[in-house]
Subunit: 304 residues, 4 copies
């Protein structure tokens, strides 16, 4: 089956699922999104692009941003980052403070909210406008110069972000946040509020499949070894507390967000992004998880 | 042995202990206090006063304030308070967030930092200046019109209060803090920074031993039943995570603070306060705990 | 109001509660007990006895036995016991293993199942038949030479005691159980299965109110100081994870069991026992808790 | 560099590490093993075999057995297994009971001790001698008909296995262990005590790299999809609480044991086993972890 046929078939199979699952309601602005949506894009490393459904409709990338802010911070400080944030799956909810207390303010991995706050703190030390640093990075990676964050969503998230604020002050109490907590939280909320579509993200993630080189602009984003290592981290920690199950069912590195997007890649082959707003109880897109499971099965490729 | 002889003997016996233990260092201003201090005061319900050592030297009351802010909040809202804070010992450190997560933002008791923040939130809803409301309450209870909080200590605590701020935002995320977190934290830090001496506090606690009526001014602070109940709470929860041990060894209701003060009372008999700055690992004054254990033993009275 | 009138009134007031609450169902034999029962007995230190309702009907004392096995172990090893079991309220369920793991196999207090297993281990080291040692101790304390444990209940509890067995092996792995785990569990289940009535228990607990001397036989069970200390422990830890609430509402030292019995005492005055099989969610007798709260209120005495 | 040269180089580089790390001492028999050992074997799917050092010296496979007992149980009950054990990394130590309590007796994954006990329970329901079922399975997979478990090690582990016994009874209390706990523990200890060498294990793991078909005997052990899925589980959960770090550094599916062995594979390519007895604090072989990190780096292959 050719790639377009694969996407068309997944699109058909996913239709009955679009009414299932719930949308994230804790950010009021996010709850306003139209729900009956499904888009998917595959960007081959040779430049060919395949799309289906709402692949060009923008959505809030939310925690998908954590993959790219991590990459940017890793460019800046390299392995020194791991002194401040771990590389292990958490075994607890994405916004839990329990683990932070047990492990003295060091988050288990950079894809938890607490870990992403440390990452944002690293960016805040280096950049005057850490939110625009990430926006510009994603513009280069995706080739879409018009990317921007949605200020209404960012402000909605800020207004309801007591839990993130609690984490920030908690890590500050352990000395693991260096910049003013309010400023770090604000930058973090803006990162989450960046709007992109499936095509943008399928292209942007390509560098991880391509030995660290962006297939869009040719930029050497990371060395090949680091690209492999961040991919391993996606596999073990990228889909909240369901990473083990996701690896079991789908078998490729992925990072999801509560906006309903999931980016993933197959090393040496392609970048892929799927979007559908309704979520499983794990916080991952319900139709999106299904789509990726079918995808690796239909094309007969996974890591294993 | 008469009461003065009891105090003199305890004072003698305590001398070798004054060099042991450590002072709370997380609040820089507190660490500046002179360490070789020991004072004790007993205020009989009939007005007789006994003192020894540094009983008239002011110190930072710190968590001893939690007993009086609780009394004030209980005057305002009565048993409705228990919908927002529990009455059980915690089994965890005084500044732990773990329990808060497990129990959905409801602190186990009002003598934990988190519980005292809820209490302060209640006062913040009712009073424009919740810090002065407590200062004035303590002026009336002690008969010392000159009481004040120490602004340098309050600011020092505010500057280092990331853990309390984390708790505040965390409870706010569960809807259990109603006022702006920063304002509540500020009032709380000023409560902790009130300066009093042993004589002031031995008098101030008298109402709990006296059926709710202040032996100083005759004010009906609480009804008799409520006075008993708050005393029970002191016994089970008043000395951090050492309350069981303290009840076992001392056997009377007490509330301690990291400034080295401990207030206690014997129902229908007396109020007592001891102060010595160096602390046990539990956060209670080392010489102070010893002094109260000797006190109930020498006068042959405890609850049991 | 005289004592008999107090008991009669409580008996009347308790009637509407007898249909509420649930019976412990995890021990099948226990679930067979008749439910519409309420008995209460007060044994004054001078020997006068007051009873109401089903005060002479035997019931399974269950965790009430922990108070007496503790006393027996304390006679044997004294304060050395506290190296193996703590004196702090737990903040967790009576059968939780979490705390044991955090604190390296040392139970928080002797009234948790894990703590009572350590106590039983102490008795198992000293006595060939630790179950009969406790039975005989209770015969002396109550003056009832016919006491016995119910073998059917003991075997029912043994058959369903996987959680206790897990605790036993867990503590054994930390070196805090010395005898074979199965033997300790068996003795423990027989302790729980002892049958007594309210009159027996009100008399048996009297030594704690009487400076350590049994008012029944005159035996010096403990020295006066130790009697006070175990009483303090009852107050802070005796009623499962509701000890703080119980102290707040009732205000006297008490120990409850899932068989529906609660023993308590007022120092220098009386021993009391109430029994009613249906339980609150905390595991304490529902009508029994109500009865003791009314009791201290009507006679105008509590510790505080 | 050809494969033999790769192994020779790793062997040289590993020498300085052989004196570092500690041996597992909680099983006395295991502590008797000679420490200065290092062996490694690579078994290509086409049958070529490469070895270095002590690749033919037998050792106790310990938790490496969990991979094969899981495979056997999965053959029997398929996806129904996941109703009794999860597929998520644990975030806690391999022998923690905390997670079991929080999640009602369902272990997080089959590579934790608790999870392997559930797996062994499945085998105990099906086989009269579950230990011999696994031994015979491994004889077929490795082509070594002489494999056996070491009874002295099994008995040593049984004698010191209080923690495992605690877990067994704990899961039994939740209904998640069906057979008598003692029998399951005994079979489990015998599984751990199986003796194999690097050559045996490199061959035995080959079926996971080969679409589920054993490259030794041609047996279809699992269907291709299941082989992929168990491999994903190895990657996310196979190396204790260091699985994230291991995936990050090494990047291939692996399962380790406290006997110092680690098996791993590269899909469609090879099976590999390394052995060196001294361990990192995570419980994984120190020189073994280093060797596999160098291996994927030198041959330029990992999953990512």
């Amino acid at each position: 089956m050719d790639m377009q046929a694969v996407l068309d078939r997944i699109h058909d199979e996913a239709q009955p699922l679009l009414g299932q699952g719930r949308v994230a309601s804790y950010i009021p602005e996010l709850a306003k999104v139209p729900l009956q949506r499904f888009g998917m894009a595959v960007s081959m490393l040779d430049g060919r692009l395949y799309t289906v459904g709402d692949a060009r409709e923008d959505f809030s990338i939310q925690s998908v941003s954590k993959l790219f802010s991590l990459t940017l911070a890793f460019q800046l400080v390299g392995d020194a980052l791991w002194e401040r944030v771990g590389r292990e799956p958490s075994g607890t909810a994405f916004n839990s403070l329990v683990q932070l207390e047990t492990e003295q303010g060091k988050p288990r991995n950079p894809f938890l909210n607490a870990g992403a706050l440390v990452v944002t703190d690293v960016l805040s030390t280096r950049f005057v406008q850490p939110e625009m640093a990430l926006v510009e990075f994603l513009r280069r990676l995706s080739g879409n110069a018009g990317l921007q964050y949605d200020d209404a969503v960012a402000r909605s998230e800020l207004a309801t972000g007591s839990r993130n604020r609690a984490m920030g002050h908690f890590m500050h109490s352990f000395g693991n946040l260096k910049n003013p907590v309010d400023a770090v939280i604000e930058a973090y909320c803006r990162h989450c509020a960046i709007r992109m579509n499936c095509v943008d993200l399928a292209r942007a993630v390509g560098f991880l499949a391509n030995g660290g080189v962006s297939p869009v602009g040719g930029e050497q984003v990371l060395d090949a070894s680091s690209a492999k290592r961040l991919s391993a981290l996606m596999l073990t920690c990228g889909t909240y507390d369901a990473a083990g199950d996701f690896a079991y069912r789908v078998g490729i590195p992925a990072k999801s967000g509560v906006g309903g997007g999931i980016v993933a890649h197959i090393p040496r082959t392609l970048g892929v992004c799927v979007w559908s707003p309704r979520l499983e109880h794990t916080g991952n897109s319900l139709a999106g998880s299904f789509a990726l499971e079918r995808f690796t099965s239909l094309i007969g490729q996974s890591l294993f």
